[in-house]
């Protein structure tokens, strides 16, 4: 172990600041009345913004900086992912406040659990060793289990939380088992040292088996088929505001987990895991797109759509090269920015006693509110990957990564499923634009929460703007990976 020094503390300063802020919010919240919960809300947003400022300030100028003997790494990937994790977490606070208040769920716990989950993601994103990765992952996962169960009177939430917990624990167990094999084979927990040791390891088969378990664990966390079983139930069962959070930021963290473990740690074993990921991608694309067609619940449909998007994201990994990871990272960012507004729209239309989570609840939205119908249509076309929206360019990059890596067949499979997937996104547009509103539908009352309405509008329009100006983001992703 190296000596303790202040440089280590400076490297991890954003996380420390964030932790301090969380503890302060925890204490302040104890003294607040429920009517004053807005203070917690704004303090939480301020904490996220402050952390983002520290992340920017601490961005490494040259190569990666590692601290605590390699346990913690601060590099371009970490900075980029942390900023977007903080952004999407902040957006889910903005989108969720009204929803939670109407259901009397706007508790201090809601804020604190999300903040702790975010802290877990920040750690995970910067993981330099198996221990840090696992610590961050568990902090994220345990907070998420509790978040799903936050509405404890709802049996579906409780069911979803238990499923999430059991399957999540299983996944953690598999991952941990795989990690133990990596440790057994290489004798180190440090990812960079594992990578260096792969060529000379004494028991390569043990390492290969470890890789299988790690891939399974990562696939569980990403929600790639056939390890996706938890995802639809959790997305549907959790309160919409929680789904807004779980559906967006943790995808960035899951990308980071995959990148840190598979590339930083096991890059030398890529010939073993690329084909596994290709198979996972095909299965995810098939399961996600085919099952989504059958759904009538929008949250469940979006859950299956997430699975298919994970399939697309994995296309970036099959080449096991930096350009591919950059494409996958771009995809993860694009997806999380789009998913957060998709779930945010459901939260926007929902109100006490009405969840607005069935696809039919969007019937005739264009007649009742053309503006938000337009935003939702943008989101759907972007998820479907129709140019000139942001989602298309993300798909373009991962398809290009797969083709460049020689996986032309995989790219063709992906686009075939993209065509199938187009149908269910178009169905949402169809319901909003081509169907008339039912007489039985409750009248549309939009919340007076102006930050919510503004944020959703800006977030939706950003999908168009980013469709024209995605170059800088791509450059940033490429730079982060040293291209």
């Amino acid at each position: 172990m190296t000596e303790f020094n202040t440089q280590d503390l400076i490297t991890i300063l954003p996380e420390f600041v964030f932790l301090g802020a969380i503890i302060a919010i925890l204490l302040i919240d104890l003294f607040l009345k429920p009517a004053q919960r807005d203070i917690t809300h704004w303090l939480s947003l301020a904490a996220l913004a402050l952390t983002a400022a520290f992340v920017c300030h601490g961005a490494p100028q040259g190569g990666p900086i590692s601290a605590f003997g390699g346990m913690f790494v601060n590099d371009g990937v970490a900075v980029l992912l942390k900023l977007f994790v903080l952004l999407t977490s902040a957006l889910s606070f903005v989108y969720g406040r009204h929803y939670m208040r109407e259901r009397r769920l706007l508790l201090g716990e809601y804020y604190l659990l999300i903040l702790f989950a975010t802290l877990g993601m920040l750690l995970l994103v910067s993981a330099g060793s198996l221990i840090t990765a696992y610590l961050g992952l568990e902090l994220l996962a345990l907070s998420s289990y509790a978040l799903v169960a936050l509405n404890r009177d709802s049996p579906t939430s409780a069911e979803a939380a238990i499923k999430y917990f059991v399957l999540g624990a299983l996944a953690s167990g598999l991952l941990l088992y795989g990690m133990s094999m990596l440790y057994g084979a290489t004798g180190t927990l440090d990812l960079a040292q594992i990578r260096a040791a792969t060529a000379t390891v004494q028991y390569p088969n043990l390492l290969a088996v470890g890789v299988v378990f790690v891939v399974v664990g990562v696939a569980f966390k990403l929600g790639a088929a056939p390890f996706h079983m938890w995802l639809p139930d959790v997305y549907q069962g959790a309160p919409t505001s929680i789904t807004t959070f779980i559906g967006a930021a943790p995808k960035l963290a899951a990308f980071a987990l995959a990148y840190r473990l598979l590339d930083n740690g096991l890059g030398g074993m890529s010939q073993h895991w690329t084909l596994m990921l290709a198979v996972l991608a095909v299965l995810s694309l098939a399961v996600g797109n085919l099952f989504a067609i059958a759904q009538s619940n929008l949250k469940r449909m979006l859950a299956y759509s997430t699975i298919s998007h994970v399939g697309f994201l994995l296309l970036g990994f099959v080449g096991a090269n930096a350009a591919g990871y950059a494409a996958a990272m771009f995809y993860a960012v694009a997806y999380s920015i789009t998913a957060v507004v998709a779930f945010g729209m459901i939260a926007l239309l929902a109100r006490a006693g009405f969840e607005a989570e069935e696809i039919d609840d969007f019937k005739g939205l264009n007649q009742r509110n053309p503006w938000y119908a337009g935003i939702m249509a943008i989101v759907m076309f972007s998820l479907a990957g129709v140019p000139p929206l942001f989602g298309f360019f993300a798909k373009l990059l991962v398809l290009k990564a797969a083709i460049d890596a020689g996986y032309l067949w995989l790219a063709v499979v992906a686009i075939v499923f993209a065509i199938i997937g187009l149908f269910y996104y178009l169905r949402v547009v169809k319901v909003m634009y081509f169907d008339g509103a039912d007489a039985a539908q409750p009248t549309l009352v939009l919340p007076a929460d102006l930050p919510l309405r503004w944020a959703i509008s800006i977030n939706g329009l950003a999908l168009i703007v980013l469709g024209f100006t995605w170059g800088p983001l791509l450059d940033w992703c490429n730079r982060a990976l040293g291209l």
Partner: protein, 502 residues
Amino acid sequence: MADWPLLSILIWLPIIGAVFVLALGRNPQAARWSTLIVALATFVFSIPLWSGYDAPAGGFQFGESHEWIRALKVFYALGVDGIAVALIVLTTFTSVLVIVGSWGSIDTRVSQYMAAMLVLEGMLIGVFAATDALLFYVFFEAMLIPMFIIIGIWGGPRRVYATLKFFIYTFLGSIFMLVGLIYLHMKTGEFSIAAFAQAGLGMREQTWLFFAFLIAFAIKVPMWPVHTWLPDAHVEAPTGGSVILAAIMLKVGGYGFIRFSLPVTPDASQEYAWVIIAMSLIAVIYIGYVALVQDDMKKLIAYSSIAHMAFVTLGIFIALALVREHDNPDAARLGMQGAMVQMISHGFISGAMFSCIGVLYDRMHSRMIKDYGGVVNAMPWFATFFVLFAMANCGLPGTSGFVGEFMVILAAFQDNAWIAAAAAFTLIIGAAYTLWLVKRVIFGEVTNPEVAKMADLNPREWIVLGSFAAAVLLVGIYPRPLTDLMETSVQQIVTALLVSKL
């Protein structure tokens, strides 16, 4: 004015105008007028494009190039040759008439309809003006969104089925092209269409790319046997949607063939030209017969569009065969020129025919032939126009329909007399289904009392049909300006065909 980024203005003026029209929201009259002003302004801006294009020099002019995505070498690159100029002017001209034509017939959510039309116009111009493949693809796909909305909201009873079929079918085709474009990007490192044309490709690669392009453009044209989305889309679309679809959107397919298939995969195109020629001849004859038995006017014109567009694909690939196999570039130029004239001419004629049916539909709310008969008695002026367009549709000399088809058949003769004979069948079948339509709808006894009550053309309809009629006659009687505009560009395309990539 020479330094203005004319093409960018033409693309973005309607799109920005659409945002403005949408903002007008609830006032339909204001939306109509502002849309008309935007469309007219766009048309006015397209005139210097025509007059300023140096036709004898040929090549791509009015070029604009800005770096868009540095990492992938994607450029916002625009430029037009003579063919693209003609198609852009066709687009701006037709768009004005469509907006005038939908003045009274669209009365729900007017601003959204008008905005969708303007966005569509901008994207169509973008497709014709793009010289960067990714930019082309973005416009190529993005135009599906406004059309999807137009058919889906303002369409007929089965509009949802029709519009989903339209969207998914065309998306299916173009996404394979995307894989082809990414592959070409891997080979060349950039997305410029000119670089793709220079790329050295083996026969195997060319074959795959050729079929990837073929799926995309064949569905768009549409060619037999992937045409089935078109009759559904046409029947359910509102009149304005049908006009844009037939007059301009189908041309994107033909334009794609000359922009991508021929220059990028010339050898595979030669190898499989017979496939396209066979598919085109089947479309001319078989689809002609299918048109004959339709009892829905819009469906009849939709099928007739497929048959007429087959002349475009026939002309393009006959030209290829003539250059490559008969070493006859003069005849090849004739065929290619004919195909291009046919594109423009069909734009006018199909636009006019669908507008005519729209005029009838606004009065009777029926598209069935059996509901009409003796329309000439109630609407003599309308009947005059309708008969003129019908004559043009069957290729009567003196109308624009004659010029293109005649040139293609002449060129086909140089290749193979049998192909020419089969193509010439259109003169019989086309006359049969069109004239029979005229007989049943326009002439004869007034059997339906509703027909007798129909009022003749109002001034707005006069403007629309009169403008189309002027265009049809002008191109028919004096096609020189049009052929001169495209001559050098066609020549350059044909010359480029001589170079093998193998």
